[in-house]
């Protein structure tokens, strides 16, 4: 397929339809409005259904119902809206309902601002819902990757029967880039719908989606099953990251999404001045990649995000050296420039060594 120019939000919606998504329920919020707009226009053309819900809360609970009915279903929102969806995401986790949630981050807290941000790293990876759980979180760094990751997300969601979040900063949604839409997601084993989905139970059998385990021992047993079986499998099979100019690196940035692109410019500029520096770019934020942080040649890790350092503890844990992790970021909808990172590195590390 030839490349086409698409705005990130529209590319995400298109990728979802190509991945078999036929149901979308959402609520307007900037900067993701082109996602529901695209679905409202295109889903009916492929026999799908778009519902503009009365709230984000209702939207995620419609997703809960459609996902429980075995459909490929998606919702999208931005930061305050994702906060509202957290309850429903927790229900999808407990009920083991596959669905894809796109989070197009803007500055917070509260109503915050509508400009791009990454200040929902913790909301996504630590969960804003209650209870012990994880959901896979994919963080694309380009419109192309947003397309590819949305397609993968539907496979991951169905395979492990879990909500999957595609976490983007608002810029990914707003920018246009050339994309190829023919990415074939990795085929994964899917549990048969007859074993769990509403409306698919074989005659004489009943499929139920249970959320309340009044029996505490059983509730614990289920939690342990998630943590002993489901989550280790996801950690093993689904973790992704990119290493950029890391072969001989002595210093490394750690960054994802748009910030990682900005930092790539800084890496190239610093390399041109002779500094051996690279970038580790986690593509999944949960599971967080551990392997690249086993690199003992790295003297300092420099975390770069559009927030106040939400990923720092993950990097500290992964590299095991709290004192060697530095942070520079902008917040509240401000986008850092490559120059800011170059200056930060020169100030903190003295430039080329």
């Amino acid at each position: 397929m030839a490349k086409v120019m698409m705005k990130g939000n529209e590319a995400i919606a298109k990728a979802a339809i190509l991945a078999g998504c036929r149901y979308f329920m959402g609520y307007p919020i900037t900067p993701q409005n082109e996602v529901p707009e695209y679905f409202s226009r295109e889903l009916p053309l492929v026999g799908g259904t778009f519902v503009q819900a009365e709230s984000e809360v209702a939207a995620i609970n419609m997703v809960y119902g459609a996902g429980a009915s075995g459909a490929r279903v998606m919702t999208s929102s931005s930061s305050p809206g994702i906060a509202l969806k957290q309850e429903g995401i927790g229900y999808c986790v407990k009920g083991e309902i596959p669905c894809v949630v796109v989070s197009m981050m803007r500055g917070g807290p509260g109503l915050g601002t509508i400009q791009p941000s990454q200040s929902d790293y913790l909301q996504a990876t630590r969960g804003g819902s209650n209870g012990d759980y994880h959901i896979p979180v994919l963080a694309p760094g380009s419109v192309q990757e947003a397309v590819d990751f949305v397609k993968e997300s539907f496979e991951i969601a169905q395979c492990y029967r879990t909500p999957v979040m595609v976490l983007c900063d608002g810029l990914i949604g707003q920018m246009m880039e050339p994309v190829e839409l023919d990415h074939e997601p990795t085929k994964r084993e899917m549990p048969d719908l007859s074993t769990w989905a509403l409306g698919y139970s074989p005659k004489g059998k009943t499929n139920t989606v249970i959320n309340l385990d009044i029996d505490a021992p059983n509730c614990e047993k289920e939690n342990i099953r998630f943590f002993e079986e489901k989550y280790p499998a996801i950690e093993k099979n689904e973790v992704r990251w990119e290493e950029f100019m890391m072969d001989d690196a002595e210093y490394a940035f750690v960054s994802y999404g748009t910030t990682s692109r900005i930092i790539k410019n800084a890496v190239k500029a610093l390399r041109a001045e002779g500094m051996k520096i690279g970038l580790v770019r986690p593509q999944t934020l949960w599971p967080f990649p551990q392997k690249p942080f086993e690199n003992k040649n790295i003297k300092k890790w420099i975390v770069g995000e559009m927030n106040m350092g939400q990923m720092v503890p993950d990097v500290q844990l992964a590299c095991g050296r709290k004192e060697d992790v530095l942070f520079y970021g902008r917040t509240g909808g401000m986008i850092p420039t490559p120059e800011e990172y170059i200056d930060f590195v020169k100030k903190e590390l003295g430039g080329a060594k």
């Binding site: 819900a53 809360v57 009915s69 139970s201 005659k203 959320n211």
Partner: protein, 250 residues
């Protein structure tokens, strides 16, 4: 020779319901099962359970079922019915679930004319959490959060859901019934069957409010509680059909 005049309907499991003695939930559960059985939909039904006493619905019915977040059953049922337009889809909700935390969901599902059926149990109190004031608690009625009786100057007034939903164009059928007497139980069954039949015909949103009792949290015996339904609840929540698209069409 002998013929069975009445026995427990198919659609209900053999699991003993956890409801308190004399609770109306059991009566309404049975009526739902009877109607669905008579309509030949036992193998074709999906029921959405609320948060509240009826949360264990999946144990009591043989239908596919899902436990919904508090108040969100109409949203979840929307998702299900959109995927399975030919299945019979029901939500079963109490007054805290439907008329308090889930007000937005029920109004908008009704306004969209979602083609499922909601059975709304109005007993004027939060049962499962132990007798707190509900949006439908009557003025002057005591609860654990209105211990001197509901004072409308402080707690506001109760909500009459049927009347409110009847202002919308989306619903195809809205009726309020009660289960305080055998005659009213017969009427309740008729209303549920009518709603489900209209769902089968894909007419639109169908809604049956059942005025029921909560003997335990009302502090009354089961029979006295039914008298309270008759003497106090029904005068405030008048029974009747509030919307019938088939009648309007005539």
């Amino acid at each position: 020779m002998s013929t069975i005049v009445y026995q427990k309907p198919e659609g209900l499991t053999d699991v003993r319901m956890h409801y308190c003695p004399g609770c109306g939930h059991g009566i309404v559960h049975r009526l739902i099962a009877e109607c669905i059985s008579e309509l030949g939909e036992t193998e074709n039904t999906i029921i959405c359970a609320p948060v509240g006493c009826a949360v264990f619905i999946p144990k009591y019915f043989t239908y596919d079922s899902i436990q919904c977040a508090h108040g969100r059953a109409p949203a979840t049922a929307t998702g299900i019915k959109r995927v399975h337009p030919d299945k019979l889809v029901l939500t079963y909700q109490g007054d805290g679930d439907l008329a308090s935390i889930g007000t937005a969901e029920i109004i908008h599902a009704a306004a969209r004319g979602e083609k499922f059926t909601t059975i709304f149990i109005n007993n004027g109190i939060y049962g499962m959490t132990g007798g707190q004031m509900a949006p439908t608690t009557l003025p002057g009625m005591r609860s654990t959060t209105s211990q001197a009786g509901r004072d409308v100057r402080i707690n506001g007034n109760p909500i009459r859901v049927c009347e409110m939903l009847a202002t919308l164009d989306g619903p195809a059928y809205i009726e309020r019934v009660a289960v305080d007497s055998p005659a009213h139980v017969i009427a309740t069954k008729k209303a549920i069957k009518k709603a489900l039949t209209m769902q089968q015909a894909k007419k639109g949103f169908t809604f049956v409010e059942v005025v029921s009792s909560c003997p335990t949290n009302w502090g009354l015996s089961a029979t006295k509680a039914m008298e309270f339904v008759r003497d106090s609840m029904i005068p405030y929540y008048p029974l009747g059909v509030f919307k019938d698209m088939e009648k309007e069409g005539e």
